[in-house]
């Protein structure tokens, strides 16, 4: 790191880096959601099932995000835990139309939340009850009931109904997450800045 970089870091001019993990079962719409958040001219036209994981970078006024779009296929799910340590937030995507696999989503969520690298940390978790446009989709209230989200007491969490294809509901979730993260990371830098 060059001297200038360091200086800008101290002054709070350089953006704080935040890693976000995007998790959920295969076909839940993780890649579609992340694709929607990208600037219109860089969006992919066709979304294919993710193999392993993809990395995407975003910037906001105060933070710089790195999003790990993990594959949700069962054979790749054991990759997830390797990224828990260096992540500061989690986006968990659920296919609201897949009633049958809601138990599987709950099982993976429970395993995630009780993992030693996640358990004791107050990291924000954002849930997208995705595909609400499907005619047999469950409401986000129903989804949060089935996943027993009310039992999450030690982490800030939020659930949004979304339709990733149209981009509906995504901004609400992202705003919440950004608010949470600036509160944790951005706030500290603002404080340092005023001291100088």
């Amino acid at each position: 790191m060059g001297l200038l970089d360091k200086l800008s870091g101290w002054l709070g001019l350089r953006k704080k880096e935040v890693n976000i993990l995007c998790l959920g079962l295969d076909n839940s719409g993780k890649t579609t959601i992340i694709n929607q958040l990208k600037p219109a001219n860089t969006q992919a036209q066709e979304i294919v099932p993710t193999i392993g994981f993809n990395i995407e970078k975003f910037k906001s006024s105060s933070l710089s995000f790195t999003v790990f779009d993990m594959s949700g296929q069962s054979r790749y799910r054991n990759l997830w835990e390797h990224y828990y340590k260096e992540s500061q937030a989690i986006i968990f995507v659920i296919d609201s139309g897949d009633k049958l696999r809601m138990v599987v989503a709950k099982e993976e969520l429970d395993t995630l939340l009780s993992h030693q690298d996640i358990r004791s940390r107050r990291m924000p978790v954002l849930f997208f009850a995705n595909k609400t446009d499907l005619q047999d989709a469950m409401s986000s209230v129903k989804v949060s009931q089935l996943l027993c989200l009310e039992n999450i007491k030690d982490k800030p969490w939020h659930i949004c109904a979304s339709n990733a294809i149209k981009g509906e509901g995504l901004q609400e979730g992202v705003d919440w997450l950004q608010g949470r993260l600036s509160f944790i990371y951005g706030g500290l830098f603002a404080y340092t800045y005023t001291l100088i």
Binding site: R77, D98, K99, L100, R101, V103, V104, E107, T111, D136
Partner: protein, 571 residues
């Protein structure tokens, strides 16, 4: 055992509908990606009440998405790829009576009819005379009864029906049917699928059917012509098919005579036969072996050549069986539905897991459902439908629960040949055993002497153990001797301790100590004080002797290396 008897948290309860009104068996259930959307559906031939309400049902996830009426009771159902057209959507074959109804995109597409059987010539003549008005129904009845007794070719269904009628119904029946030619039909009893020429997952498959008339047919996937016909000694009831029609295949068939026959390519008669002591009620292939559930509440394993491998007893009668295969995890096992409301999972004869169900399971099916590879679907006798999903992290440990000698016992050890060196050594040990033992004992005593091992008395009547601790910086030291009687139950008494030391260096308050009676096992600390009288910063050894009163030979000796005194004596 107790863990293997419960499902051990290996399954997730995905769905249970106790009032799904689904009445079916394993043979009428299949999983297939019917819409080409990578999401597998459940296709079921529903038997309804047995006389009405027969339906072809399709489930997607937890919901019934399609249902169409069937004309007759389904006996078997299979999803199979019949052509190479894109998209590769499987067709559904539903066997009922002498027909196979083929559905494509869930719409009726084709109806296959089993070829008619040879009709008895005499029977035909008799009906011909009826048509011409030469004989009346009562004579007809007499003649047909005579034919039934001795004819080689059995009577047609029409004649049999006629014979069961009351005299007053006969006239009407005859006038209704006499104009139609006589036909003899058989019915399908079981059905399987066989890949045509490639082993690929998406290869085109032939239908294989077994009939009440003891025949097995292989049908062409597209034209539904008969590619091959094989005969069995009895009527088949269940079948398992592997291989490829153009290369090599094996059809394992359980028959109504209680035997299992194995048919191969290029032979119209069975190649091998398994004679069972009890009737087969379930037949599943596991790898290269055949697992058979029998009516005597047993599960038996056979090789594909019919050699018996094992037998396991079951706690209740078998209701249904199915294979459980998870190729992604290299897992193979057999699911056995039992009449005591349990589904057992066996790998060979080992019970891996038992699932309790709210009702007796009538049909099971395992495979990819929706997007989940390890899904178990169970239909209940009372019409319920239950779906469980195998956890991603679930493992089944291969444990031999069957009583009897452990497996390791029958494994032959690879013992190497005896070398000449080994033989020479053995001879030497045999000849010089005593000398070698003495030499060893002497070395051991030397070793004890030389090292700082805890001194142990070698006397048999006073087995003692002692260790010494020196505390203090000097010039005064506290010396603690921990003495222990190591005998099992005999106490030791009349012991004393005396010390030998350089009197120029050390002064001991009490160089002669009496030891109290030593109870076996307890540690007795004996303490005394030593004073270093020299101020030259040197140290020496103090020898400790444990003696029996009145005997001069010590039982135990110990050398204590005294530390250098850090302080000075006052006088």
């Amino acid at each position: 055992m107790s863990e293997a008897r419960s499902d051990g948290g290996k399954w997730l309860d995905a769905h249970y509908d106790p009032v799904a009104s689904l009445y079916t068996f394993s043979a009428c259930m299949d999983l297939a990606d019917l819409h080409g959307d990578a999401e597998s559906k459940l296709v079921v031939g529903d038997l309804g009440t047995g006389t009405s309400g027969m339906k072809l049902k399709v489930y997607r996830g937890t919901a019934l998405v399609s249902e169409s009426a069937l004309l007759d009771l389904p006996t078997a159902l299979a999803a199979f790829l019949m052509d190479l057209h894109e998209p590769r959507i499987p067709a559904i074959a539903v066997a009922s009576g002498p027909f196979i109804y083929i559905y494509k995109n869930l719409r009726p597409y084709f109806k296959f009819t089993l070829p008619g059987l040879q009709v008895n010539g005499l029977e035909q003549d008799v009906w011909q005379q009826v048509r011409e008005g030469h004989i009346d129904p009562l004579t007809l009845k007499e003649m047909l009864e005579g034919l039934r007794e001795k004819a080689e070719v059995p009577l047609s269904v029409r004649s049999l029906h006629f014979l069961s009628l009351e005299p007053q119904q006969m006239d009407e029946f005859v006038s209704l049917h006499k104009q139609q030619p006589i036909r003899r039909q058989t019915v399908i009893t079981c059905m399987g699928t066989l890949r045509k020429s490639t082993a690929d997952e998406d290869g085109v498959s032939c239908l294989v059917i077994g009939t009440e008339n003891n025949d097995v047919y292989v049908l062409d996937p597209e034209a539904f012509t008969i590619l091959s016909k094989m005969s069995l000694p009895a009527a088949p009831t269940m079948m398992d098919v592997t291989g490829q029609f153009d290369v090599e295949f094996r059809i394992t068939v359980a028959c109504r005579n209680g035997n299992i026959y194995i048919l191969r390519r290029d032979s119209v008669k069975p190649k091998y036969c398994i004679e069972l002591a009890s009737h087969p009620v379930g037949l599943v292939r596991q790898g290269k072996n055949v697992v058979v559930g029998c009516a005597d509440e047993s599960l038996q394993g056979f090789t594909q050549k019919g050699k018996k491998l094992w037998r396991a007893s079951l706690p209740a009668p078998v209701t249904t069986m199915a294979a459980m295969e998870l190729p992604t995890r290299g897992f193979q096992a057999v699911l056995v539905g039992l009449a005591n409301c349990e589904v057992h999972l066996y790998r060979d004869k080992n019970l891996l897991s038992a699932i309790k169900t709210p009702d007796v399971v009538s049909g099971v099916c395992f495979g990819r459902y929706g997007r989940e590879d390890g899904t178990l679907i169970m239909s209940m006798r009372g019409g319920g439908l239950m779906v469980k999903i195998l956890k991603r992290t679930a493992t089944f440990d291969e444990r031999d629960n069957a009583p009897g000698p452990p497996l390791a016992q029958s494994v032959r050890l690879n013992v190497p040949k005896k070398t000449k060196l080994y033989v020479d050594q053995t001879l030497r040990e045999r000849e010089n055993g005593v000398a070698m033992h003495r030499a060893f004992q002497m070395d051991l005593s030397r070793l004890r002497l030389a090292s700082s091992l805890t001194p142990v008395s070698s006397s048999l009547s006073e087995p003692l153990k002692m260790n010494a601790v020196v505390q203090g910086l000097g010039p005064s030291f506290k010396l603690t001797l921990n003495v222990q009687n190591t005998a099992a139950c005999r106490p030791v008494m009349n012991l004393v301790i005396s010390f030998l030391y350089d009197e120029h260096l050390y002064r001991m308050r009490n160089p002669y100590l009496r030891i109290p009676l030593l109870v076996p096992g307890l540690v007795y600390p004996v303490q005394t004080f030593v004073e270093c009288t020299s101020d030259r910063g040197i140290s020496d050894i103090i020898k400790v002797f444990v003696l029996h009163e009145g005997r001069s030979a010590p039982l135990l000796t110990a050398h204590i290396n005294m530390p250098v005194s850090e302080g000075l004596a006052l006088n």
